[in-house]
Symmetry: C2
Subunit: 282 residues, 2 copies
Amino acid sequence: MKKNNSLEPSVPVAYQGEPGAYSEAALLEFFQGNVTAFGKNSFEDVFEAVESGACKFGFIPIENSLAGSIHRNYDLLREHSLFIIGETSLRVQHCLIANPGVKKEQIRIVQSHPQALEQCRGYLNRWPEVTAEPVYDTAGAVKLLSDTHDQTTAAIASHRSAEIYHMDILAEGIEDNPANFTRFLVLAPQPVDPGKDAKTSIVVSLHNQPGSLFKALSVFALRDIDLTKLESRPLIGLPGQYLFYIDFAGSIQDEPIKRALNHLEEYAAMLRVLGSYPRHRM
Amino acid sequence: MKKNNSLEPSVPVAYQGEPGAYSEAALLEFFQGNVTAFGKNSFEDVFEAVESGACKFGFIPIENSLAGSIHRNYDLLREHSLFIIGETSLRVQHCLIANPGVKKEQIRIVQSHPQALEQCRGYLNRWPEVTAEPVYDTAGAVKLLSDTHDQTTAAIASHRSAEIYHMDILAEGIEDNPANFTRFLVLAPQPVDPGKDAKTSIVVSLHNQPGSLFKALSVFALRDIDLTKLESRPLIGLPGQYLFYIDFAGSIQDEPIKRALNHLEEYAAMLRVLGSYPRHRM
């Protein structure tokens, strides 16, 4: 956490996970200075912390370049009435972490979240002396190692989790695919003015008619509005009906975007603007 | 496995997982009769088993209604040259499974894959006496219980895994959201004639130009071809470039579809037809 030089109280921000989680690292990078990160048990608890006013902002992952969109968080965005006010991306870099002084040759077990183990499968396969053991949480695995002073087990987790628990990093960047990015959203009870280089996220469902998606996209194409994300998700129990996640360049305060969304409402069974926010460029 | 009344040798089919995995259950339902299911360690091993001729078909999950598309398998479809020759859907119903004779009151620990535990979170929260413990695999958790004769631990896994290991089912359908479906694809080295009610899957990347997606979709809309899936996925390292997964009604043997794909090639940086196959209707 950054040093607080002002007399202002630190801004409380909610995320899901333990200290040292990738979400926490991304959050601290995004906000830079004067914030306090509160780790919650679930994504739902993050939304509730912001709605109740306990936290000023929420910080949630929305998609990963390898694992895809996190539908659970799209569902929570629809169920709650918070606004997206920012976005950021974090490159996920996994570290091999052990108790201070432990050498790599001593390690026989490597623990982490199953997804992190899977993302380091090539690295682990080239190391036949060790067994991979799944645990609930990447940062939680580091905490457990620190508590037990285990000398033959290592964890796969973030650089930051090693710092928090004063552990050694035996190897860094051990993920098989370096193109491993997670995109995060910042949530607040009120929208913001997104400035000039803005992006907008909407969720829309269309009437089940031939060509309905084509018509829906025409409202953007006819106004030269640039789409940055488009994803269909089947609505279970409603055959042939889809929910669409659409991100596009621009703000809902721009006149062409206002017109495009008015036009889109002619085709939409449901349309929800999740927010306009400053665009993050990698 | 169904009884084999013929003298034909059983057809070998590869899937990822242990006996009792949801993939195995879906595979046996899809093929009905004369198949032998071979559980592989990884999705890559499934593709290789079909390419080498060791198995006649491969069977892979491609999307889940709660968790989304399995990008890893889309990547493997692009890297390998197998064809999609069929699809099916399985409703994922989780069971609470214990050793024979064990009562629910005795249970103190519930083990399963983290995703299955997450999908039963409501059920577990209403049962404060137990602790959830993540393990690598749903069916693997049942096998372990069976081996150890543990009387105070239960597993969350498929109905079929309880049958395989002769275990008791203490509760069924314990998932919080009943709209939990996984879609599977059947893979083979050669394409099939998909018949009248067909579906086709393609992967396409477009030149990075304004309106390129709209133009791409026009090739379908202008010919009244019905899209059933559309998903964009950012190409990491190539800002603004996307890969699109598109499913549509019809077969590549149909004249309008041939023309639409020829037309699409005018806008596409890359176009790959993954296969035409009989459509599965839920």
